[in-house]
Amino acid sequence: MTRDDGGTAALTTIVMLPLLLVVLVGVLELGALRAVAYRAGAAADLATIVAVGDQDQIELAHSGKLRLAADAADVARDYFARNLSATAPALAASATAIAASADIASFPTTPSFDPRTGARYDRPTVRLIASVPVKTPGFAALLMPAITTVTIRSTSSPR
């Protein structure tokens, strides 16, 4: 290496270092966001599964058919809040507030159609759609939004 080559390398490093840091921070934040979204989706899945397990026992004794309990949507909302609380530090709102604003619908009779998604359900179904605000400080450092909203969806039925 000559004296001139060494100056070129230092200059290149100084120029490229910010770009490398931007890419590094972006990748890390994107990974963290994906992990939080995955955990929120799992919380929604478990909530709808629990709600589907909440069956109307009187109707079962009367007709032998599984039909969702009248409070299935409330059960799903309650368990969604409970499950989300494990991810609370990464969320930009409280788990209870997120669950309260979630669009949760139960379809106790079949066949039924979901007016929001247009899906047809042939079994008693609980559907959950929620917007989960996630803190993204890494994006904020890069002059991007400090909060990123992730939309999750979950649907369960007895099969």
Partner: protein, 309 residues
């Protein structure tokens, strides 16, 4: 020497012989049969007993022209009691149960006792069937000749009147015709066929609650403990179960394979092949006919909560 040796060998052979271990074909026939095990629940059921589905209301005497009919009205309801026929009597015949029926036994206009049937009523207690009362179902008629051509106008319409209330013990008052008659003639008695209990219709089923409807099939969630109640209906009236036994055994966990008043609690853990349903089959004995074997069955479709794509 040879004789001694042969004798010694024979002696050794005889002494060292053992009985063969072959099976004796007639061995089983010599076994003394075990004494029969008595029924753990010694329940004496009077012969001819049946579950009451039509209850006595009142004695009725109806008059049409010259014929007077003595009958009994009933109402189709079950009071949870049982009954049996203890005597059927013809007109004028005496019975050992005369004077014992709470509604008494009426008489024709000539004083002869009415034909009919005596029933003895029972209630089922923990100690067995206890007789509580005797009732007489009158079933008779008589015809009288007209004394003269009536000048009173149109013929009288048939009339009927309940003659006694359920709790009365007095003889049934008789309503006779008010039309004039040509001559008094001995009544011609037309004994009716004695009252026979109607054929029973027995129906069995399984319900998911003690008083719920019986179901041919039921959807069951995996892992959920579900109670199955064997039921017996006689003439569409729910009768108590004496015992049940599970004939099929698909559930992973069951509370018991036999029972009486308690239901079967069953739980499935393993899922069947998609599209396949299981069935629970019971052998049932009712309190009304403890010796009659009945079967009840329900189809079970096992389901599990799952995510939908």
């Amino acid at each position: 020497m040879k004789k001694r040796t042969a004798l010694l060998l024979s002696l050794i052979l005889v002494l060292s012989s053992i009985s063969a271990n072959a099976r004796e074909p007639l061995e089983d026939e010599w076994l003394i049969p075990a004494p029969p095990v008595p029924d753990p629940v010694a329940f004496v059921v009077p012969s001819g007993l049946y579950y009451v589905t039509d209850t006595y209301v009142a004695d009725v005497v109806a008059t049409s022209d010259a014929t007077t009919i003595y009958s009994t009205t009933t109402v189709h309801e079950s009071t949870g009691t049982y009954a049996r026929v203890i005597d059927s009597v013809d007109t004028g015949a005496s019975s050992a149960f005369d004077g014992m029926a709470f509604n008494g036994r009426g008489a024709l206009t000539n004083g002869q006792a009415l034909a009919g049937t005596y029933y003895e009523n029972f209630v089922l207690t923990a100690g067995g069937y206890v007789p509580v009362s005797i009732v007489f179902f009158q079933d008779d008629s008589e015809t009288k000749r007209r004394q003269a051509v009536s000048s009173l106008g149109a013929a009288a319409k048939p009339t009927a009147s309940p003659a006694a209330v359920v709790t009365t013990t007095s003889p049934v008052p008789v309503v006779t015709t008010t039309r004039p008659r040509d001559a008094i003639a001995p009544p011609s008695i037309m004994p009716q066929a004695s009252i026979q209990p109607a054929p029973r219709t027995v129906r069995t089923g399984i319900s998911l609650s003690p008083d719920g409807p019986t179901l041919a099939s039921a959807e069951v969630l995996r892992g959920r403990l579900v109670q199955f109640w064997p039921r017996v209906f006689i003439d569409n009236v729910d009768v108590p179960i004496r015992s049940w036994r599970l004939l099929s055994a698909q559930p992973d966990h069951i509370s018991a394979s036999t029972g009486s008043t308690q239901p079967l609690a069953a739980q499935w853990i393993r899922m069947p092949v998609p599209g396949v349903s299981w069935s629970l089959r019971f052998e049932v004995y009712s309190e009304v006919s403890p010796t009659e074997r009945l079967e009840a069955e329900i189809s079970v479709m096992l389901r599990s909560p799952a995510l939908v794509d």
